[in-house]
């Protein structure tokens, strides 16, 4: 039997966001994306397509890159979440940010937080990616401005600098 309107109760969700413990009172089927943006005011996470195709809402959930539009917050209880706002604690982040600026990898900016999350996730798993690895690692992130080449170049540049350090 379907729940009749008004019968589903909000409940407390406790999780770690960017290293801080957070408690929100919400419906368990609220999308993680909406909780981050509306309850926690972390608006760096963007909504693009809302159906897991574009990667604009990427966050790290227990270290894994995920689309936060496809995660009901009830599945994130006890999890550790990193958004673009908290990414500077991750080693490759500053190099990726610098390279994005130098290469002109951001235009309208909607895809940028997701691109950077995906790039950092890739570099943590594969410090010396080939171009094919970069293309694959970012294939779930759509950009309608740059044509991608500037983004791929930035990730390659960040990887080279990180390895030579």
């Amino acid at each position: 039997m379907n729940p009749s309107p008004g019968t589903v109760a909000k409940s407390e969700v406790l999780f770690t966001v960017n290293g801080e413990t957070k408690k929100v009172l919400t419906y368990p089927m609220e999308r993680l994306l909406d909780v981050l943006r509306n309850e926690l005011e972390l608006t760096g996470t963007k909504e693009g397509c809302g159906e897991g195709e574009c990667g604009s809402c990427s966050v790290l959930l227990d270290g894994m890159l995920v689309n936060s539009c496809l995660v009901p917050v009830g599945q994130a209880r006890g999890a550790s979440i990193v958004t673009i706002e908290g990414l500077s604690a991750h080693a490759p982040m500053n190099l990726v940010r610098e390279a994005f600026l130098e290469c002109g990898s951001a235009q309208c900016g909607i895809c940028t937080p997701g691109m950077i999350l995906a790039a950092v996730h890739l570099l943590e798993k594969k410090p010396e990616p080939a171009l094919a690895d970069i293309r694959e690692g970012l294939a779930g992130n759509l950009c309608r401005c740059t044509g991608y080449m500037q983004i791929f170049e930035a990730v390659a540049r960040a990887a080279r600098r990180r390895v030579s350090k």
Binding site: N2, P28, M29, E30, G52, L70, P72, L138, G140, N141
Partner: protein, 292 residues
Amino acid sequence: MRADPAEYRLVSPGNLQAVLSLLAGEPAQWLPIAGGTDVMVLYSAGKLSNRNLINIWNIPELRQIEVSPDRIRIGAACTYTALRSDDIVSREFPLLATAASWTGGIANQNRGTLGGNIANASPAADSLPALLVYDAELTLISVRGERRLPYRHFHSSYKKTALAADELIRDISLPRRFAGYFSHTRKVGARNAQAISKVCLAALGQITNGTIRDVRLALGSVAPVPFRLNETEHAVAGKKIEPSLLETARKSAISEIRPIDDIRSTARYRAAVAGNLVAEFLEKLAAAGIDA
């Protein structure tokens, strides 16, 4: 219109027995959700009719890969990322590892699960033709007990499956007897990454002195369900791979499948590509010359 989260229940029993009890208590009322890569898309679009969801993402029994000398047993909630990074899957079941690498981008591979792909029953799912050629067997579990079902009997018609209302897919088991086969898979879609297939082939073969000993062919997106080409397999078994056989195989494949026109492609294009993919596989098999 977007769904209202206040109208949907999501419970997290946290262990398999509690999930099964809930399913049995109110059969057909509960929809399991693992990585949500299909369910959440429907939900967000306001098209999810089932308003009671059970979280199975956090059930440890469903996330394991168990290996025995003759089988590998993949928990239904294993993600594509887990499949891609498993040594035995990569080495002995490369068609499945490759299909996992084609399924969405990395973020969706981190959440999407093999059991979810099976239960969602899309005829265009990339991992399902691989399961057909590897003779996968499913373990279905409920409070009534477990039963084993060959995967080829799971899909009865478009989006219809053999899963009872109180059952869950527990694992997908593959026999470890295909390591010596030549394997080949090819996806034809609008774009390599993320795009849903127009046609997808998974194939295994063995030849001796140029003669086909065994061949196993399955296609996605060419019929209401993932499709094993039994007639074409039969038509080429025991034959020498030569140009006339490629033509026979191509024609047989085209007559056997039941493609449709839809937003991604046309029946005519799909039939032509399906025939080409089968012929291409046989050419590659001949060139590889794997004798077992």
